[in-house]
Assembly symmetry: C2
Homo-oligomer: 242 residues x 2
């Protein structure tokens, strides 16, 4: 073991933090400040440097992109005979906020994450704190160790042990029921309205509008009424971050 | 020069193709079939293997993700004091279909791309043929040479010489005028409708709906009327791929 690792793990004032991190990510971090940043939620961002918050949001931007590339390659190689539509949908399922939040929870992020509990409820279903921190961690690993290391880390430490890709494949995300549940939880009224066709439209097309508390959210159009509903619900879920 | 490179450039039956590719990408390609695939548009995809078309669409999926990660890192490092909203917006500008199409044109992709001219008009402004091929090329380079090579290729051969990031920074994408132009070109009628506030809404909120040929496309809500229009126009552009 390199001397710097021995120092970090056993002698430095940060040794407990380093050990906790090592247990979580499976390796001894190089640049500690990157990881501290990845686990710092904006609610407690203190230092403001030239307009930029001292929080994990920039790392989240970077990590989201790196995660997207790694997952794209994994799927590209895992499914050589599936088209790009399938690959795109599978990736959305893997990197969905719900899935990443769950990952962050499983990995025990709650022990490392710093946030202001008076303004943020980490266990709220609405909260994307854990998923955001997961992406930020990917950004930190990338800056600390480079692409190939990050790819190995994601595949061997995250995707293989924690994400069952083949189960996700057959799980159809039911956006309509997800949306209805969300509205029930927040006591909002939701309607799926079938809109009469305009002159000149094909008779066979269905147009469904999702309306929540009287406000039009999104429209779905398809030759199949159920698909039109699904489309409209999916767009709404995306808009609302549900 | 390695023997395989000498063979490819001067002796192989593919030598003219290899030289054309080398001029374009700046290096001698390893796995030629990846590059042929990157320049094969779905309109002439011949071989159907177990339901997958022999075209560049899967590579485009992969290349889009790799390009996104490289551009994210470039921006992250170039703008250390800008927030994630700025970085996201800048990346959208750089990887916009319009920008990538222009890049493909500049790089002379029209000489390499294979498509069916009876069904596709490569010079049409609607066509995303060149931009799609650009992303597919990035996917091919990635599979052929790995991430770090692709990053260097993109930075030194594409971004630095061809993309003026600082000009893009001050260019505000005017979605409203882009949408209006598009409608004029296709003789579609467009309206930006101000929707009266619902009971309980803040008086200060503006809701703008974009309606094209009588069909509601998207809604924008903001405290500033111009911003609400911009938001609605942006969503519509995204939906329509304008």
């Amino acid at each position: 073991m390199a001397i710097s690792k021995i120092y970090k793990l056993y002698l430095s004032p940060d040794r407990n933090y380093v050990k906790a991190l090592r247990n979580l990510i499976g390796f001894v971090p190089g640049n500690l400040s990157l990881y501290r940043m990845a686990f710092r939620h904006k609610s407690i961002a203190l230092g403001i440097k030239k307009g930029v918050k001292n929080s994990n949001e920039r790392l989240e931007f970077l990590g989201d992109a790196v995660l997207g590339a790694v997952v794209a390659e994994v799927l590209f190689k895992m499914y050589p005979y599936k088209d790009e539509g399938f690959l795109t949908e599978m990736r959305s399922k893997i990197v969905s906020r719900a899935n990443l939040n769950q990952l962050g929870k499983k990995l025990g992020f709650n022990k490392l994450i710093e946030f202001d509990p008076s303004t943020v409820n980490i266990s709220s279903k609405q909260s994307s704190l854990l998923g955001d921190a997961f992406e930020a961690l990917v950004g930190a690993v990338y800056l600390d160790k480079g692409y190939n290391f990050t790819k190995d880390f994601l595949i061997n430490r995250i995707l293989n042990p924690h994400v069952d890709i083949h189960t996700l494949e057959v799980t159809e995300t039911n956006f309509k029921s997800r949306l209805i549940e969300w509205c029930q939880r927040l006591s909002k009224e939701i309607q799926f309205n079938l809109i009469p066709n305009q002159e000149g439209d094909s008779d066979k097309l269905f147009t469904i509008q999702v309306v929540i508390d009287g406000e039009l959210m999104a429209t779905g159009v398809d030759y199949n009424k159920k698909n039109a509903e699904k489309l409209a619900a999916e767009k709404t879920c995306e808009m609302l971050g549900v």
